[in-house]
């Protein structure tokens, strides 16, 4: 670490300008908006924390959405990361099939979330979709998928894993390239098994990439919106009503920017808290 205000600021300045202007200013406006309420004519006035207290103590849907969002994230995060990591480990070495499989795993990521949602809504059609075609082929009973309060949220998880695992695999692949070959050679001489090498060399030296994927993936998943908007509209019976969808409805349908911003600010808080733990856990601290 080099102690230099001048050099440090020189390198971060361009990014600082861009982020400050196009991200921090609008985010600031949005957070301040959560302390205000707007009449339908567009006049807005300061209300302090009223939007928050309403959400916490009176709003009939907030807590339901809060728990659903939490459960969804707690399941989908580790699942995606585990699958992405396994895929990256399997495809790290250059063999004749490596390129092919990497590209196949990456395919779903090349389709936007909106289009992926449309595709899966028809693949998982409760009566005639491709997925039910598979089930009946193997003699299994057809499933309602998104049309069932018990299954809809897990279908969202499934959809997200399908779409995102290949994406996060890419980051692990990049991170794996930073691990020096010499360590594996040394381990080979000691006769270490593949599992030992993975556990003792790969995973510890992947911690910084791991921290990155963990934090970024957490943020992405807490902000899941497109499949809810396109497929379930929060249903059936509120079972997929993620917080982002609640916020969206407030912002663009109910014209209630205060509530919308309060929800996204709460989400920001939750994501930050999770990130803090994730940084701690991976020991890839905030400060090295």
């Amino acid at each position: 670490m080099f102690r230099s205000n001048r050099a440090g600021w020189f390198f971060i300045l361009p990014a600082f300008v861009f982020l400050g202007l196009f991200k921090i200013v609008p985010i600031g406006v949005s957070v301040l908006e959560s302390l205000r309420q707007t009449t339908y004519t567009g006049r807005s006035y300061f209300v302090g924390f009223e939007n928050y207290t309403y959400l916490f103590f009176e709003d009939p849907t907030f807590w339901n959405s809060f728990w659903i969002t939490l459960i969804y994230s707690l399941v989908v995060n580790p699942l995606i990361i585990l699958i992405a990591l396994v895929m990256a480990l399997l495809l790290n070495e250059n063999r004749f099939f490596t390129k092919f499989f990497r590209t196949v795993f990456f395919l779903p990521t090349a389709i936007s979330f909106a289009v992926v949602s449309v595709i899966w809504s028809v693949v998982l059609d409760p009566h005639y979709g491709l997925a039910n075609g598979f089930l009946t082929l193997f003699g299994l009973p057809a499933q309602p998928f998104f049309a069932s309060t018990a299954q809809a949220l897990w279908c969202l998880v499934f959809l997200n894993v399908w779409r995102s695992a290949g994406y996060w695999m890419m980051y692990f692949l990049a991170g794996l390239q930073n691990i020096p070959e010499s360590l594996y050679q040394a381990a080979d001489i000691d006769g270490a098994s593949a599992w030992t090498k993975t556990r003792k060399i790969t995973l510890p030296l992947l911690s910084r990439t791991f921290a990155f994927v963990l934090v970024a993936n957490t943020a992405f998943n807490f902000l899941t919106f497109a499949p809810v908007y396109i497929i379930t509209k929060g249903g059936p019976r509120g079972s997929t009503n993620l917080l982002m969808y609640e916020s969206y409805k407030s912002a663009f349908v109910n014209l209630d920017m205060g509530r919308a911003s309060a929800i996204t600010t709460i989400l920001l808080g939750i994501i930050l808290i999770f990130s803090l733990f994730e940084f701690k856990w991976t020991k890839a601290g905030f400060e090295y």
């Binding site: 670490m1 230099s4 205000n5 050099a7 440090g8 600021w9 020189f10 390198f11 971060i12 361009p14 990014a15 861009f18 982020l19 196009f22 991200k23 609008p26 985010i27 406006v29 895929m87 499989f101 990497r102 590209t103 196949v104 795993f105 990456f106 779903p108 090349a110 389709i111 936007s112 909106a114 289009v115 449309v118 595709i119 899966w120 693949v123 005639y128 979709g129 491709l130 075609g133 399908w162 290949g166 890419m170 980051y171 990049a174 390239q177 930073n178 020096p180 070959e181 594996y184 934090v215 970024a216 943020a219 807490f222 902000l223 912002a251 911003s261 990130s275 905030f286 400060e287 090295y288």
Partner: protein
């Protein structure tokens, strides 16, 4: 450099496992591709019950693709998205790698605040900043230009975060040695840091490309002339409350996903051990 090769049995087991995983990813896509290559007709005819035809159409036609390119000008949308993505990548890789270097290797006033800013930029949903951002873009007088699509995406917190993680792996001693030899920071950044971080750069290129390629809502707000239409807008337009044109939707979704796949296919050769990072880690 040579490593002991794995036993053929292990290799075969890995191959089988990978094939199984890839079926999970590719089957829905195969169905979409087959549907796009069929003359347009009912959606579920070949999906249920499942037959070989589900994935391999007996009559193949490219009419759906010809239609979207010839009559719906899908090529224009592809070019727009390509232009926007490439321009954003050019700016993004430069400024984000610089910032990542600043965060990874320097101690300076305001550093923690800056890192905090970097983190929260990708923790706030775009939907909640779209209105203030649009007001800002209008005030800067760049609405309805390519700049409106490129500049707001150029500063990418996720990319900075990634660069920071990767640059932290470069041993500080090398940089110290270069300093003693009289190298400037810019020179160190260009000649040591960047060449050692090819996988990170490649990853950020793909990341920024995907971000711009998949953007839908912002292009609709920031630009309104049809000459700026981007690829996701062109794809999504095939679905509405009155009707969905599955043939157009699927064929444009496939055509629209080719550029990122091709990009990834060619760039992934940099995800090979030994190209960088060799023995640098202390």
């Amino acid at each position: 450099m040579m490593r002991r090769y794995k036993k053929p049995l292990v290799l075969a087991a890995e191959f089988v496992l990978l094939t199984a995983i890839s079926l999970f990813f590719i089957l829905p896509i195969l169905w979409i591709v087959a549907s796009a290559l069929r003359p347009s007709g009912p959606l579920y005819t070949y999906a249920n019950p499942l037959t070989l035809q589900t994935f391999f159409p007996t009559t193949v036609t490219f009419d759906n693709f010809v239609h979207i390119f010839k009559n719906l000008h899908f090529g224009r949308a592809l070019l727009n998205s390509l232009l926007v993505a490439v321009a954003t990548i050019a700016i993004s890789v430069l400024i984000c790698s610089m910032a990542g270097f600043g965060l990874a290797k320097f101690a300076f006033r305001g550093k923690n605040l800056f890192f905090f800013i970097v983190l929260i930029t990708f923790m706030v949903p775009f939907e909640s900043i779209v209105i203030p951002l649009f007001v800002l873009v209008k005030r800067l007088n760049i609405d309805n230009t390519y700049f409106a699509l490129i500049l707001p995406a150029a500063g990418n917190g996720l990319a900075i975060f990634l660069f920071r993680q990767f640059f932290s792996e470069v041993p500080t001693e090398i940089l110290e040695a270069a300093r003693i030899d009289g190298a400037s920071w810019i020179r160190i950044f260009r000649k040591i840091i960047l060449p050692l971080s090819i996988p990170a750069i490649v990853t950020v290129i793909v990341m920024v490309f995907m971000f711009q390629w998949n953007s839908l809502f912002w292009p609709l707000i920031a630009t309104h002339s049809s000459r700026f239409e981007v690829v996701q807008v062109a794809i999504t337009a095939h679905r509405s409350t009155e009707d969905t044109s599955w043939a157009n939707l699927f064929s444009s979704a496939i055509a629209g996903s080719l550029p990122p796949v091709i990009l990834f296919f060619f760039l992934q050769k940099y995800f090979v051990r030994g190209i960088s990072g060799t023995g640098l880690k202390g």
